[in-house]
Symmetry: C2
Subunit: 166 residues, 2 copies
């Protein structure tokens, strides 16, 4: 019996260590310093961090933590559904805390501004898909792209008139 750890980080900075240890233990996993430090980093931000940034912050808490351990821990946490990786840029893999009100993004192609929103209303679509495909659907990602107000103004309406819309 394993507790559902998904909401763990939503419980705020007061970490229920007992529950965490229990969960790790139940999976035959060990509670180690790197894992705790990475969790602490994730608990203190709502931003989407690239792995290198998680590592940098983790080092501030414990200078000995290696990059490889961060990668391994992020993978573990993703398996435990504590985080998920999102794709907001080409190059890096970013991780976001997984919350009950999971986040989606509206990304400006011009300046990179990211607006987060959570109300995705995909329940019906999810059910339809599951029924039609016989999949057991466990999650989704959805992001929108476009131009923010400023960039839209700056790049003018010329873009608009060409009929493209992506």
């Amino acid at each position: 019996m394993v507790i559902n750890m998904r909401n763990f980080l939503n419980w705020g900075s007061a970490m229920p260590m007992t529950a965490l240890k229990q969960a790790l233990h139940d999976q035959g996993l060990k509670v180690t310093r790197p894992r705790l430090v990475v969790l602490q980093v994730l608990a203190t931000t709502t931003a989407h961090l690239k792995v290198a940034e998680v590592h940098r912050r983790a080092r501030e808490l414990d200078g000995r933590i290696g990059l490889a351990s961060v990668y391994r821990t992020m993978e573990l946490l993703e398996r435990l559904r504590l985080v998920k990786h999102v794709h907001v840029e080409h190059r890096h893999r970013h991780y976001a805390r997984l919350r009950e009100d999971h986040g989606h993004h509206l990304v400006c192609n011009g300046c990179g501004l990211v607006v987060e929103f959570s109300d995705c209303r995909l329940d019906r679509l999810t059910r339809t898909l599951a029924r039609r495909t016989k999949f057991r659907i466990e999650g989704h990602c959805m992001d929108f792209f476009g131009q923010c107000q400023d960039c839209a103004r700056r790049s003018g309406n010329s873009r608009r008139s060409d009929g493209r819309k992506s």
Copy 2:
């Protein structure tokens, strides 16, 4: 005045070269062999190719094409809205042809099976978002994840009962 190139690849293997050249020309771009070859590769498949695969296939058509040129061409095509990159794996950037009935994915976390679907019904959400954020929304991506029927059966219900859901 730039033509809408989005449907270009939908026109089938009979490429409207005139239209393509016109579009490139209008943007001050040149019609070069590497660009044509990459387009040809993309026109002969509906799969989502990673860049290395596009390069491999392009080389079969023209052995001199360099990987860097493929990267540069994919970027160009994405700017022209002929392709978009999708994220089905961690490591690689995959590109998909952009169609009027743009594709979404349902990916099996177990075996990697990808089911494509196009009916996303996001029009209303798109409008709402645009109104609230003042973004000019140009596109979106949406993918679902889960277990296909076989993998769900294979991994059993043990997964289910432990409270985790992925």
